[in-house]
Symmetry: D2
Subunit: 303 residues, 4 copies
């Protein structure tokens, strides 16, 4: 898997109801942007905040809507081993192409425990598996010891890294070496250009829900080592992150900002799942104002 794989937001009508029409529009909007895949139920997708019934419904509906046009990855992380395996089975049944698994995010296993956990769960998951490094939320890093062990386990096909650390990225790249059967996707969109330039396979970038073509084009520029175009497009990616994701200054501003902007664009509802709440009118107005500005500049940069 190479390219942009947006971590899709989950359109909601309410805490426990999908925005079905919004989902359809969102899927079309993203695929039209030229992405290489879709990543469901991750952090941006608020996966851990949704009921199991809703998670299953999302996987089923989205796979049907995508209908094989791009691969679909399903995040199956759970604090419960058994529920992770259940969800992976659902994902396989729906036709997802891979599962994605972070450390279970309540307890804190050390490296030897984590190696055993990954070995046990991999053997029961009926899909190729990406590990998902998200230490800011799981409190656990997949250390090089864990990755070295995991790279020898059948079924593990890559790593999605959201550590925000180039030091970690370079350690992983050195560990992968020439093995071209192990993929490396990187999370924060601010690091898309440098990671692709220096050996990463692509980006799992929240902003690609809203402006998929911008991220796809930046990925291509990085793949082609077109430094001038990188500079032009990365500036806009940074502008999205530095403006839209900082409205209100909550740690949750990224999700709230994205959903608010998607709603202003008429794509899907802005409802976010608890423990968060949608932007109120003041922040919504700020987003509207930023959005107009961003859209103009992105259009110019892309053309």
């Amino acid at each position: 898997m190479k390219g942009i794989v947006p971590p899709m937001v989950t359109p909601l009508k309410s805490q426990d109801e999908l925005d079905v029409e919004g989902l359809e529009r969102l899927v079309e909007h993203i695929i039209k942007g030229g992405v290489s895949g879709l990543f469901l139920l991750g952090t941006t997708g608020e996966g851990p905040g949704l009921s199991y019934a809703l998670r299953r419904e999302l996987l089923e509906r989205t796979c049907k809507l995508v209908n094989g046009r791009v691969p679909v990855l399903a995040c199956v992380t759970d604090t419960s081993f058994t529920e992770s395996v259940h969800l992976a089975q659902v994902a396989a049944d729906c036709g997802c192409h891979a599962a994605v698994l972070s450390a279970p995010y309540y307890f804190v296993p050390d490296s030897p425990e984590l190696i055993e956990y990954v070995a046990h769960i991999t053997s029961q998951i009926p899909l190729p598996l990406y590990l998902y490094n998200m230490p800011g939320l799981t409190k656990v890093n997949f250390s090089m010891d864990v990755l070295k062990a995991a790279m020898d386990m059948p079924g593990i096909v890559g790593l999605k890294d959201s550590s925000c650390s180039m030091l970690y990225f370079h350690q992983v790249r050195a560990l992968i070496g020439e093995r071209d059967d192990f993929g490396l996707l990187v999370g924060p969109e601010e690091m898309l250009a440098e990671t692709v330039l220096l050996g990463g396979d692509g980006g799992v970038n929240g902003g690609a829900n809203l402006f998929p073509r911008l991220y796809v084009e930046l990925y291509k520029a990085a793949e082609n080592k077109d430094m001038e175009r990188i500079s032009r497009l990365q500036k806009e990616v940074l502008a999205v992150a530095h403006s839209l994701y900082t409205v209100g200054s909550h740690p949750s501003s990224l999700i709230k900002g994205l959903k608010c902007a998607l709603s202003l664009e008429g794509i899907c509802s802005d409802v976010v799942a608890e423990p968060f709440q949608s932007f109120r009118s003041k922040e919504r107005e700020q987003v509207a104002s930023l959005l107009g500005d961003l859209k103009g500049k992105i259009d110019t940069a892309l053309n």
Copy 2:
């Protein structure tokens, strides 16, 4: 609620099967020790690591076994609002006396978001509710702002604090003031004596799974301000924590050590849920050796 409310370990035959006979023996063992209640599915109970079916089964079976002899509290925390409400409904149906709720442990709400979350979920939970402060695992502190707001919400009856901080304890005590309708239970057993001496209502202490009478007697000594007896009994409580919970030096050693010791005592199985694994023979021998020593000293101290 006053006194010792052990956070019961969940006896397991395997990752997704209860040790039903072990559960019966454990419940009797704990109740015989004179405890004031039972706290199910908390951190020591590995709640987040268990499937929902198993969590429900544990609530049902335990409530039946307890049969009203002591109040039962059920931890209903979940990353999903909807699943928390479901589990609280199950707990109410089983006859639990209260629910216990920490911050949802994946996303990190700030204080204003957390206040809204608590208000929303409290209105849907059909049981009196204890908040559960566990910042080491949830990454979120219930700040004084949140607690002040929560104390005015109908249905919230107390706080279980596992922050391990006396500074926090004293802030909460000052906030509670003379309100005797708001309880304060404290987690780490090393702090049982001082918190009860200085205004706490009791302890939620893992070691009370194994030696319930020791903790109950220390609680009583603290309630009676019997400093000499406190000194004698606290020494043994500290010996449990400093020896049994440090075997193997994992963050998970507390749970592993307790279950291993309970298994050596013939009470229940030592199976722990993923992402952890039971002690192997080397650690098991260490636990056996420590246990013999501890039992002798505790018997002496209690008599």
Copy 3:
């Protein structure tokens, strides 16, 4: 050493000039309160923020003013081994009774490195030495391994703990056991009562600059296990911490609040050393208002 050893604030006329008259009044004010010693150049004394010339002058002047009425302890921690030894020599020459040493606060030694460092420096310091555990500012805990090694080094006579952790306190107490030649003083005043009740030797409490008698009386009540008097006096100690030290909500509010209150009382100047700056008029008015209230309540509680 037993009882209250206030970490004396350093009265300043400006960044690099002592408030000599203020120092004299402050020393008399504190000693009159019945304290057991004086601790100079610690965190509350802004030691690391002062020039070496000023640190030396403070040691000399204070020792002369105290004139043997109580023991004087000098904090000699420095990022430079050589400067620590120099300052310890000055302290010895002035007649200080002991030196106090935390981990050097820039680099982060691990436990084996820290053991060697402590052994090396202890051999060159011409005074009995207290270790000073202050992980919040030094980024390093004196682990039980380090303490165990240190307790066997000639010259080390005790520990001053400012970790704010009762878990750590109980571990240290268990390590000390029956050795009555190793003292244990505890920093945050909110924990004075419980630590003295449970085996600590006294408190190094910032508030004792302002209200020395309050802290001395609380110490005595704890030593006498007079739970009723503890409750009455601890309430006022907590009121000081929860009000005076939170004005302006800076991490530096403790130092700023204390110096501002001392200045309002006519004892010494409110100048604080960089990187902090004194309270402006708004916060000063807040402090004045809180102070009036506190003084009334403390008088009542003491009488």
Copy 4:
């Protein structure tokens, strides 16, 4: 200032004595590698661990040895405002070209306090000033608010960032925008290529003490956007970091490994300042073995 500015290690004969011959050889070795400047008394230079007399002697001797061939930057950070100003005066007298200042590393100022501190000290430092962001050791980030204010203060000419964060880097780059009078140097050598490719002005890289030409050539390749050469050279820079800096797995392994390798190369002594101690024979043998391997590969990559 553009290019590689090595943070020079401080050659020591003992804790408080310079290795004068080693210093001479080291300065020549580094300058011969084509570097753009020298940075003295930083973290790699163990500045905070040295006595003031030694810091002054190092500045004087090094400036004489360099004799204007490249600019010399002096780190003047100190917990004491007054001592920082003193050291900056010495640096100016020796002919240093700029001073470098991190947050004072004991107390933790918040952003408003830090802005005032920087304004006050800048007005008293007789040299152009680089701010030095080193949150891992100072516990304080220069936030965008602080940087925005600092960029308007006369005398501040740039930032040296050792946060290891590309998110921070991109925020700073966006803040700088088109202002070409404000430089941005980045610390960890693993990030040299990407930061220069994406708008940084150069690297302050510890490994350039040992292999200056490697770092200079990687800088040039990045400046020329020569992706193939970047890939070849960066691989060796990463090999240095992933091997030499991890011997013994101490946080101090970088300094110990560098000094040990320089000593094996006959350049200067391997003595490190307390609280660290030089590698013992076992680690020294490991370094010797790694070094042979690294030198061969670096020679190949450079030619």
